[in-house]
Subunit: 140 residues, 3 copies
């Protein structure tokens, strides 16, 4: 976690653009102290005949569904800032290309989460910093 599922029109992004998009997504969460490899971004091409907005087929919309942990962002001011920072990540890959966009965030429990069989270290711990520095899961 976080997990970004990006549903987009066919051919909306080159591989280079997807990589840049995912890099910005990752940096957004890294800025909050997360190891980069925690952040997974999946791109899903959805053809016009399977992508409906308001009941109409759409090939000009990017719909992003994001899962983060509950309690990671609690304070109303930080939530508002977080919302706008997510929007700032998406804008160059949507608005700037003439695409409409929408995202929403879901918050899920941290204690039902696992990586490679390891319980990820507590936020702010030395072990988490080690994971961040090494950018991989290490037994601790």
């Amino acid at each position: 976690m976080p997990l970004w599922n990006v549903y987009h029109p066919v051919g909306a992004y080159s591989e280079e653009e997807k990589r840049e998009f995912a890099d910005l997504v990752t940096s957004l969460h890294e800025a909050a102290g997360l190891p980069r490899f925690y952040v997974v971004t999946l791109f899903h091409e959805v053809d016009r005949g399977s992508f409906y907005v308001g009941g109409e087929p759409a090939d000009d919309v990017v719909r992003v569904a994001i899962d983060i942990f509950a309690r990671d962002v609690d304070d109303p001011a930080r939530r508002e800032s977080f919302r706008h920072r997510i929007g700032a990540v998406i804008t160059p890959f949507a608005t700037a290309k003439g695409l409409r966009w929408e995202f929403h965030v879901d918050q899920t429990p941290r204690d039902l989460w696992m990586i490679n069989g390891l319980v990820p270290p507590p936020p702010g711990s030395d072990a988490e910093r080690l994971w961040a520095n090494e950018n991989r899961a290490i037994p601790y």
Copy 2:
């Protein structure tokens, strides 16, 4: 939001059927006052070898995962009614075609949601009515 992800067998729906299905989904939420363009319906074809129900490969099941906002439906009686109205939308596109089906709804926070860089207007506000009437996001 709402977001409907419809996982269905290969070839279960023609484009016309998907459009009708998405139109009914949209009308269900529009009846609660939502602008139509808030409602996104994505159809995902899943082949039998990737779709398992009870551990068995399945090509006769439609599995719908729905995200709505927390607090949009709070009252137990309204929740029960909402459940049955969702079921009534799916039935003609599943039971009537000999397909089994299942849906579940998740509820996510409204304050981590954004469309085209805009914070959507409060429920019941004049701005939301304008968005509904114009069926698009307008700075307010």
Copy 3:
């Protein structure tokens, strides 16, 4: 419910392996008393150019997103056990194949859930046991 969405590299699994994986997923939840047909496992092949971990394209990661019901697992000790049992299901289909993996679980409301137009019976009820024994939804 539960619903497992398994995002995996292209060609990671044969059909037989997907079936075995889904069978173990199903048995995990069946052990908690659920009818087997409640458990849906969907496999989604994601190519390297659409699958980013830490902003880098990845073809060696399995990312699993699981939805279960809120309150099904409440007690901290049972949650910890549940986390490890999920990990034990994934390990042979990831670690053992040289793939990294991550899962997270979301918990959603039971009262916005429906199968084939029926409200599933209460947990632990005679009707639920009938559904489990018959492995199908039966009017009650």
